[in-house]
Symmetry: C2
């Protein structure tokens, strides 16, 4: 909405504009774990045109795996969509939602033309990220039923039409008027497979989201779709390695991380956490962030000694896909709407699992015991001081 | 030892040589979470000279914290040392060790002149990284007693002389002739505080170290030194987030990760894993890697279909320190011996813990339960298929 002009387009564009070709290749290998130039997909011209008309940056990327004897390749195309708010935050809620729905239809249409099988939006994509305001109305009016809300209804139609699994991260109002930060998983048949909710709620800076909703009680579900086993780890859950690990233990092959986070707070962490999760858990991890600066009608403070203000900084986009082998795609823009279409060969997950063996060498029973001890109020940390011998346990 | 000429010096040098100043500042912020140029320390000229004569790249870096009212700053200087083998691997074992001891004395002397309080070597620093050969003699002769071996004896003297805690990662032979991958923690008083052993043993590529030693039974000890609470997570343990987390739960403020790893296998992971651990666990994480190519007397194969060979690639150095706030130091060289001296204000750990709150929001009791279930042979992963409702638990 504002300020985006002063923002750098992306790290990738800085490198590509300034490094000579040989140096760019070397830097790319060190940073992204893959060859330069990145391996792109062939997509129809109509998709490029539709994206261009809709001002959506369209980028593609291909992850490959070795050929096996007994399993055919399991190639799946995923679409990650990051977007700004099309309307100002003081527009009527219904109009804001309608404008977002319209944008979504275009993004999904472009994704369908690229052959996308699984599509995911950013966190609470049907509304401004208004939780810093701590205001109830009108923001809680943006909450919907996960099963019957207008967004799920729209996306069930689009999912069936395009034979596409769609992940729909919304502010959910359940039948008991409890609010949740939720992601609905809609099958390519148009049916709802299930939902996942945010497991960890931030209490940091402007992200005082505990004002609005509580931690999930739904565990770490992995959804078995026609296009692979997928999990959804919403936003702040990406800071918690124990959370990422449970999706892996439940068999996820792709974990989506729909997020909303701003530069001053988290940007140095962004390229690290989802990628580490992909490495540690032998699955693909997809980090999706909002983009743009959202300005609110009323001013609010941030508990940082600074004056009241009406925005909480620039959502820096930079959505990307990380692979189990440690490589990653380039990121989308830091300033514009974007659709990242990536082809994954899901066979890579088991191939890397067999190569690196983290699942086999993780000593899970030992950590189950240690965490059980460490979670008790009377836990005595294993600390060794001079003239003491280390404890054996 | 060889091939280092074709190797890139470092990612940092690529960026510094090619990016214009404004672009460099932006890229640096995105990549390292801090200002460019990096904040260095003032050190005596004698240290620079000694390092230079000994062909050790000397780099310094400063991490700061906010001023508090009740706690004074807790500034600690740490030294990370990465080195090549000074002699060929077919030199007599005693000569190889003597040459490494001589090099160590110089590095520690330079570190002492820089005011280093805690010094750490790379993994099994007193020997070639010979485990890929699967040969017993002469390599098992490089094993020493953690308490009474010649290296511990030498370092106890140096520790006392320089008022420096020294972490001594060696191949340990215990009283029962069991071999371990160990790190001895020697106090600045010259006394041994205790030891830590490698918790996770690789079975990947050439790193078939399970041939030589077993997983630690010593847990995740944190050593209370005069210069902060430190843990040692040896090499392959850096791939395991559950392992990193236990050091945090035991109160570590600095976790050292003495390692030995080569480019083709792990380089895209190197900058991610220790840094993610620093972020997730609110402590400083120090990644130290060997450097150079080590050529062995007899050829060996690698289980990758390729012909037998006498080395297993280039150890790429690149040692660095990552801070709990997500920032990190530049890395040491990919090709030369190096000493990284970093000043840490340990107050930053609790400051970031209070800001981000991962320890508070981690839901440890829930994960203790989930991991206990997941570690049982009859664990049924939480998988939701179409026309099933998600399980509530």
């Amino acid at each position: 909405m504002a300020n985006s002009k002063q923002e750098v387009e992306s790290l990738e564009s800085l490198l590509e504009s300034n490094l000579p070709n040989e140096e760019l290749k070397q830097a790319w290998r060190l940073l992204y774990g893959s060859e330069y130039p990145p391996s792109e997909l062939t997509i129809p011209k109509t998709a490029t045109e539709l994206a261009s008309v809709s001002k959506i940056q369209l980028k593609t990327y291909q992850f490959t795996a070795a050929q096996e004897q007994l399993r055919p390749p399991r190639k799946v195309r995923i679409g990650l969509f990051q977007n700004q708010l099309p309307l100002a935050t003081d527009a009527p809620v219904a109009e804001q939602r309608a404008a977002l729905h319209k944008l979504a239809e275009k993004a999904i249409e472009a994704a369908a033309q690229c052959g996308v099988n699984v599509f995911c939006f950013q966190e609470t994509w049907t509304m401004p990220f208004a939780f810093a305001t701590r205001e109830r109305l009108p923001w809680t009016e943006c909450a919907e039923s996960a099963e019957e809300g207008p967004t799920t209804v729209l996306l069930r139609n689009l999912a069936k039409r395009h034979n596409m699994v769609i992940i729909n991260p919304i502010l959910e109002r359940d039948a008991g008027d409890v609010l949740w930060n939720c992601a609905v998983v809609i099958s390519n048949s148009g049916q709802i497979i299930g939902k996942s909710r945010k497991n960890h709620i931030p209490r940091v800076g402007d992200f005082n989201e505990s004002t609005y909703y509580m931690e999930s009680t739904l565990g770490h579900p992995v959804f078995e779709t026609q296009f692979g086993k997928i999990g959804i780890n919403i936003c702040y859950g990406r800071h918690h390695p124990l959370n990422w690990a449970m999706f892996g233990l439940n068999g996820a092959e792709i974990v989506f991380n729909p997020s909303a986070t701003v530069g001053a707070l988290s940007e140095p962490l962004w390229s690290i956490e989802a990628r580490n999760a992909a490495i540690a858990n032998h699955y693909f991890a997809c980090a999706i962030n909002r983009v743009g600066t959202e300005i609110f009608p009323n001013e609010f403070t941030s508990g940082d000694g600074k004056p009241a203000h009406k925005d909480f900084g620039h959502f820096y986009g930079s959505s990307y896909v990380a692979a189990p082998d440690g490589s990653r795609s380039p990121g989308l823009s830091r300033v514009t709407d974007g659709l990242l279409v990536a082809e994954l060969d899901l066979n890579l997950c088991r191939q890397v699992k067999d190569k690196w063996g983290f699942r086999m060498t993780m000593r899970l029973p030992m950590y189950a015991e240690l965490y059980t001890k460490a979670s008790k109020p009377d836990y005595k940390p294993q600390v060794v001081s001079e003239n003491e011998r280390p404890r054996e346990d």
